[in-house]
């Protein structure tokens, strides 16, 4: 259920509007400018943080293994991919240290993937909260992404352990993990904001999302190497594949953690552009819909 909105034709202010102005009254339910909005979101940061933490706690509430599932889930996913792609399809041929390559790809892509999934439900899944309380709605997609970030920390621990076990040496480039995580988080927040608004407007998007995500994962070189295969591709296909943000993100992590891989300047530029660009664009897009969220 949505509310139909028709814009009032811009004419002279009505008699009531004049009386309201005379009494110093402000119009209710009209959004603020972009920067005041950002300030409002910032003032609710504790709310976002607590919402995120409570979601993490609630997620595995009824399970016997509890929070351990946050680690088991990606490990099992990686195990499935390892069986299918390394042992059966052998897509790992010619890739140095394929197990680590695969694990980094799966673990770090999962962060973006689950941010997208839960971000898409940020408004539609919290309608009761939205209809009852006043707060800048951008807090919701922010909280879902924070929640995914919190659950990614133990996964990163497992990933580093696995990298060490597989004979990678720790080096200074491991410190790149922090800026990379920041950039990826900005990217994820932007993505969550875009899809939160899309889904709140057209519910059907959430039906389409699993297919989009699966396609994106297959295109992002998680369990095969794009470089090794792109030699005989058309130029446009090469560009689309190699500047796809999913691929760039996992490649950057591999470059930081694995001795055999490096991040080149093009990739750094593309990564920063995707992250900052989507972060700003997502925030703008979400803010423009502020008056329409779930207020049915």
């Amino acid at each position: 259920m949505t509310v139909a909105i028709s814009r009032r034709p811009s004419g002279p202010p009505s008699q009531s509007a004049q009386r309201a102005a005379a009494a110093g009254l402000a119009r209710v339910g009209i959004g603020t400018g972009f920067f005041p909005y950002i300030a409002q979101v910032w003032s609710r940061r504790h709310f976002a943080w607590m919402l995120a933490r409570s979601r993490v706690a609630a997620r595995s509430e009824g399970d016997i293994l509890g929070a351990l599932w946050n680690i088991l889930r990606p490990v099992l996913t990686a195990l499935v991919y390892w069986i299918v792609f390394d042992k059966i399809l052998k897509t790992g041929k010619g890739i140095n240290n394929f197990v680590t390559y695969l694990a980094i790809g799966v673990f770090m892509f999962t962060y973006t993937q689950s941010s997208l999934q839960s971000g898409a439900k940020a408004i539609t899944g919290n309608l009761t909260l939205v209809r009852a309380l006043h707060f800048p709605r951008a807090v919701l997609p922010l909280a879902t992404t924070l929640d995914e970030l919190i659950s990614t920390f133990p996964v990163i621990g497992v990933m580093l352990g696995l990298t060490l076990v597989n004979h990678e040496r720790p080096s200074w480039s491991w410190l790149l993990l922090l800026p990379l995580l920041l950039l990826q988080t900005m990217f994820n927040v932007g993505l969550a904001m875009v899809f939160a608004r899309l889904t709140s407007r057209i519910r059907d998007v959430s039906q389409l999302l699993p297919f989009l995500i699966r396609l994106w994962m297959y295109l992002s070189g998680i369990f095969y190497s794009i470089e090794n295969r792109s030699k005989d591709w058309d130029l446009w296909a090469k560009i689309v594949m190699e500047y796809n943000p999913g691929y760039i993100i996992v490649t950057a992590y591999r470059g930081a953690l694995m001795g055999h891989y490096h991040i080149n300047t093009h990739q750094w530029i593309a990564l920063v552009a995707w992250s900052c660009g989507l972060f700003v664009a997502g925030a703008l897009y979400f803010w423009r819909g502020e008056e329409t969220y779930g207020r049915g």
Partner: protein, 288 residues
């Protein structure tokens, strides 16, 4: 959205505004229209669309076809529900307004519109500051304890962490869920609460802000006798501090004892707006 032809001209609001205070809320020709999707599950059984769907669905469809078909069917069945159809009135400083009317007459929608939680389809609402809706449906998170829900609710309303700490005791007390004899229910997750207990907690959280303009939706009649006593006292306290109060209630006695003015809504328009006893008498006469 065109203004429906049958809407009478807005009732003059001056008649009840006996207070000389300046206006704090102006509702100007407010319309709220809900756009509802009427599809296979929501339409009348056996309606034309339903029959068409059944025959078309015989051949197996892949996901994409189903997706497209569903979109097509659904967009064909948007239906407009006009909840509020042209309401105008002014609330002055010091007014306590009761809104009465049958179920589905648009009372709660009007209140949520004034609170800014439902956007106006047409028309506008002006207010002195942000009106606060005191409802019993401030839904919180069931997996969390009562205490954590209090923190969450207060943070959502824009309090700082320090303010939450200072309000915590007051809210716990108001909720009457912390009892030296029965134990502290606020330590349990909210999903274990009865609906009455949850309503108490929500009310206590919502009432912890001291709003200038207070909108109360059916909150006067929740909970057991002990809670009724504390909540009535709290509402009186809020009312004394607020610039204006609007109360939606089916309890006519509550409206009579609390309000100086009443608005009777029927089918999204104002049927009567005036001094509380006059409006209540007219309303009671129409029901009997």
């Amino acid at each position: 959205m065109d203004k429906p032809a049958e809407t009478p001209p807005p009732a003059p609001s001056g008649e009840a505004a006996t207070h000389t205070g300046k206006p704090v809320i102006i509702v100007d020709d407010l319309h709220v229209t809900f756009r509802v999707l009427v599809g296979a599950t929501t339409g009348k059984p056996g309606a034309a669309s339903g029959a068409a769907t059944a025959t078309q669905m015989e051949e197996p469809l892949n996901v994409m076809q189903r997706f497209l078909r569903r979109r097509k069917l659904r967009t064909r069945h948007y239906r407009d529900v006009k909840a509020i159809r042209g309401i105008s009135f002014t609330v002055n400083h010091g007014d306590v307004v009761g809104i009465i009317g049958s179920n589905g007459s648009g009372k709660s929608t009007l209140l949520r519109g004034i609170a800014g939680l439902v956007p106006a389809t047409q028309g506008a609402i002006y207010a002195n500051g942000q009106p606060t809706l005191l409802g019993v449906n401030a839904a919180l998170i069931g997996d969390l304890s009562g205490y954590r829900n209090i923190t969450l609710g207060c943070l959502a309303m824009g309090m700082t962490r320090r303010q939450v700490e200072t309000h915590m005791d007051e809210i716990a007390q108001l909720s009457t869920l912390r009892d030296p004899k029965k134990g502290d229910f606020l330590e349990l997750p909210m999903s274990t609460y009865s609906s009455g207990m949850a309503a108490k907690l929500r009310f206590a959280i919502a009432a912890s802000t001291m709003p200038d303009i207070l909108l109360i939706d059916e909150a006067l009649a929740t909970g057991d006798a002990a809670f009724q006593k504390t909540s009535k006292a709290k509402i009186k306290e809020l009312r004394d501090k607020a610039a204006a109060v609007i109360i939606v209630s089916h309890a006519l006695a509550d409206v009579e004892s609390n309000c100086n003015r009443a608005i009777w809504l029927e089918q999204g328009v104002i049927k009567h707006d005036g001094e509380v006893h006059d409006v209540l008498r007219a309303y009671k006469d129409s029901v009997n």
